[in-house]
Symmetry: C2
Subunit: 197 residues, 2 copies
Amino acid sequence: MSKGEETRLRILERAAPLLNRHGFSTAPVSEIMRATGLQKGGLYNHFASKEELALATFDHVMAQVNRRVQEVHASKRSPVEQLLAHIDLICGGHTILEGGCPILNSIVESDDANPALRERVRAVLDKWRRYLSHVVADGIVRGEIRADVNPDEVATLLIGMLEGAHLLSNFYRDDVHRQRMAQHLSAYVNGALRARE
Amino acid sequence: MSKGEETRLRILERAAPLLNRHGFSTAPVSEIMRATGLQKGGLYNHFASKEELALATFDHVMAQVNRRVQEVHASKRSPVEQLLAHIDLICGGHTILEGGCPILNSIVESDDANPALRERVRAVLDKWRRYLSHVVADGIVRGEIRADVNPDEVATLLIGMLEGAHLLSNFYRDDVHRQRMAQHLSAYVNGALRARE
């Protein structure tokens, strides 16, 4: 890694929790300068604009989350276990990144006047839906999940429930809503999805 | 109703869809002037500040939603039917107010730097949770809902799932996520909550 690449990475790492908490496109440059310890000129050596920095930070954050999702996926053999471990990862109180769920934060933020971020978020959400559909479809093929389950529908339900729980827990600053939803989701996977032997 | 009260009400009615869509505390005064057809002075005759107008509009919107919730509640006799009708009202594609679910919009908005709105939203969410808990508890007393169900937990799950579905359907501008969640929730109420005869 060149010195320039190192600095760029350090900026992304320090900007990530700030932008996730404050809004990827709305965090003031003065705060980004404070978090990274760089002057405006220093930042703009590495990013053409504040918008580019925001998008690069979003990508950096999502790459981190993705790595965790893939690790958890690879640690389990069975699709049902993969779903359960995924629910635990997203809703079990683990902190992947300070500032709450970056997908929730960016969905909310990008629904406004930020088409570039919205496109990024949409790609991430689409990928998440495809991932969950794929695991469910895999479970059906292996006979672990009931054949009459619709993988796309399950993806909607899981993501909607996980993000709804984050919404409530963030608002109340109380983990209990996440915990209740994680329990409900595990029971749903074990009860409604799992094929009877 | 005096002429002043009439004008006040007309302002609230016209500001409601705008502020719900744009943000209760972030909609620009120029837009509120356009929507209400009043000059700044005219607005400030009826509200001490933009913040007061925003809070009064939020109260007005929530009073509208509340009336619909109470009507739907009163139209059903059994607690299980009341829950099913409530799910249909919130997630069945009915438009109570232009601009999407005002609770979702304001949760998201008020999590920032707006303590007065946050307090209002918290009171609304608390009331919603109490209402759902109460219906579930009523169902338990009447033997319609299983005695081992925790009413508070059900309130978390229902609200989390309803709002998570709104989040996805708003983002994708596709009603399918709301529909899938409404179906899942009805099955949950009829399956996991309803007492076996």
